[in-house]
Symmetry: C2
Subunit: 217 residues, 2 copies
DNA sequence: GTCTATACTCGGATAGAC
DNA sequence: GTCTATCCGAGTATAGAC
């Protein structure tokens, strides 16, 4: 109970630095070599420590993995403060898609995320707050951009921004699952399709005629 | 290796019957009393057996839980053959929504599903095939209904039926996660919103005017 | 302050008695 | 067919070497 653990305390920088080093390394390993129900021991070895040695820096397996995900967000700068405070929907859309595309390269991380997200569903789970906060933040940014776009008429009207934000998030999470089960599926198409669906109808031309040949019924 | 296990073999009906009884009971318990990282032992007790006694009927914990989910599908008749072979999209939509609504009453099952789905993402997981099949089946039915509806002009055009099917499924799965994390969220709204988005634009009247007051930017 | 060794606990799996 | 007993592996806690 006196160790650097949470990073909140003590630790004359060495501890913190080491912790960061571990996280970076773990992130790297999981990203590239995958996460197959990775045990603490497996990560410890990949990082060059014993199991107990690794756990010296983290309270538990759950905390470790949560911090790995937090580190990932940091790196990906999902909650990136870069650019304007209130990015346009177009920009959000582009960034969101880019992120989904990027995830394609790090299946291990995506799996870790999905697994932990499902487990952290339980309010007693140490990562519960993390996911609660993280997803609320995402929806906030998304929702705000949507509201502004609706105000400008750049976005189909009649759906609550908050609902829309949930939809985008849910769709992306769901597509991750589908992609993990079968890596040949395209995570991006459906996400882009949703955004496309949201574009306002061109205000004058009914678009009920560009019928594709996709229907064979 | 000689037990009734998979139901494929042996089992002078007693074994099978008992197995079904166990599944029904387990389904009931998980549905109503929830699934909090339920152990085999917990289920065994709920069913009135010892841990080993329960495992006599199933190869492993994973197999047990997979079968519980299979039983659930059976009961919910998700892949219900009732009614016409090729239900209309409207009917599919109504049934789908009803199912989502029903899930609201069985959080334990939803959690079990979400957890196992994430775990079964790994090709080596015993439930991998189950989820692969199950979700392919759902998308098939959904996709077919979509294709027919598009053919009739009852559905917005320009999206592949297969893509649309994935979207609906992903959205629903993602909303389950959001609802599990925070049971006050509405799983249904976003799903209905997606279906609404798919309705074809009224062919003549541009609908860019029913602006709501939801935007404060 | 950092880490290894070790020991404890718990859940799932398996063998064998009844 | 069901139990008891046992095993095993993973996660966790602690003592103490360095």
């Amino acid at each position: 109970m006196s160790a650097p653990h949470t990073g909140r305390r003590g630790s004359y920088a060495k501890g913190l630095a080491k912790r960061e080093e571990i996280l970076t390394r773990a992130l790297d390993v999981i990203s590239h070599e995958g996460y197959a129900g990775a045990s603490v021991k497996a990560i410890a070895e990949a990082v060059g420590l014993s199991q107990a040695g690794l756990l010296h820096y983290f309270d538990s397996k759950e905390e470790l993995f949560t911090e790995v995900l937090r580190k990932r967000d940091e790196v990906d700068a999902l909650s990136r403060a870069s650019g304007p405070d209130e990015p346009s929907l177009g920009r959000m859309r582009a960034e969101f898609i880019a992120l989904v595309r990027h995830n394609t390269d790090v299946p291990g991380l995506v799996q870790l995320f999905s697994r932990l997200a499902a487990d952290a569903t339980d309010p007693a789970h140490p990562a519960h707050e993390f996911f609660l906060d993280r997803s609320a933040r995402l929806r906030e940014v998304l929702g705000a951009a949507v509201a502004r776009a609706q105000g400008d008429g750049r976005l189909r009207d009649g759906i609550e921004p908050a609902t829309l934000a949930r939809m985008v998030q849910a769709l992306a999470d769901g597509m991750q699952l589908q992609w993990l089960v079968d890596p040949t599926v395209d995570m991006i198409g459906p996400v882009e399709a949703l955004f496309a669906l949201l574009e306002p109808p061109p205000p004058g031309e009914p678009d009920a005629d560009q019928r594709s040949g996709a229907t064979e019924a």
